[in-house]
Amino acid sequence: MINAERAMDALGDPTRRLVFKRLRNRTRSVGEIAEGMDVSRPAVSQHLKVLKAAGLVVVRAEGARRLYGVDTRGIEALRGWLDGFWEEALVAFKQAAEREATKGRKPR
């Protein structure tokens, strides 16, 4: 199951975060991700597996290559959380503003 907490758990690891960051602009193969990183390809594969399970990364086959890219579901979970947060905050804001408006009105 995809949720914000799981996505954030997956990104709690700095190396995993780096792997994820490398996918932000375009899809890459494991080899391309590992390039220039101080991590073995099997280790990168392992990180990708965790990111995939958290709904942050998707994989697709292109000929013999497997290409990894950002999965929007992880972001969507975060978005859902923020959506709920703003809902609550704006209801509280509405009440405060309406109290203030009533206060300003002269009783007749």
Binding site: L11, P14, I75, F93, E98, E100, A101
Partner: protein, 167 residues
Amino acid sequence: MTEQARFGAADLNSVRKTVIVEAPPAVAWRVFTEQMGAWWPLAVYKIGKTSAVDAMIEPRVGGRWYERGDDGSTCDWGTVLSWEPPFRLVLSWDISADWQPDPSLRTEIEVRFIAEGRNSTRVELEHRHLDRYGARRDAMRAVFNEDGGWGRLLQMFADRAAAGASP
């Protein structure tokens, strides 16, 4: 509703909210910007170590947006990017792992106050560039995990999402 079309439900990168307030725009603006501490859910939504007692916005472009703790300390949330009273406000929300403004995490919050009738205001809020959280979720996670901090709120919304309730 061109705006709606442009930022359809498919836009994952932002959250959009609208609320109708029975108050003139000037009042709505004032309560939003000058009395934020009166309505912001500070009990569950703060980033400082101490209890937050107020949330403040300095009324100018480049002004700070911050919380004030009960010990007088302050903790930055972001900065004012646009200040157009009583019509439009844009804030950056950049919270990094060490609670300092972080230019790499500049999610934006735009709030528009639109008069509707004599004593009513439509308040439209958009929180955008959410993909930027992707790189900084370690910081977010630290906040979410604080006891009595965002953790509780996150759990609440996670439960709500799991239950399949639509926002």
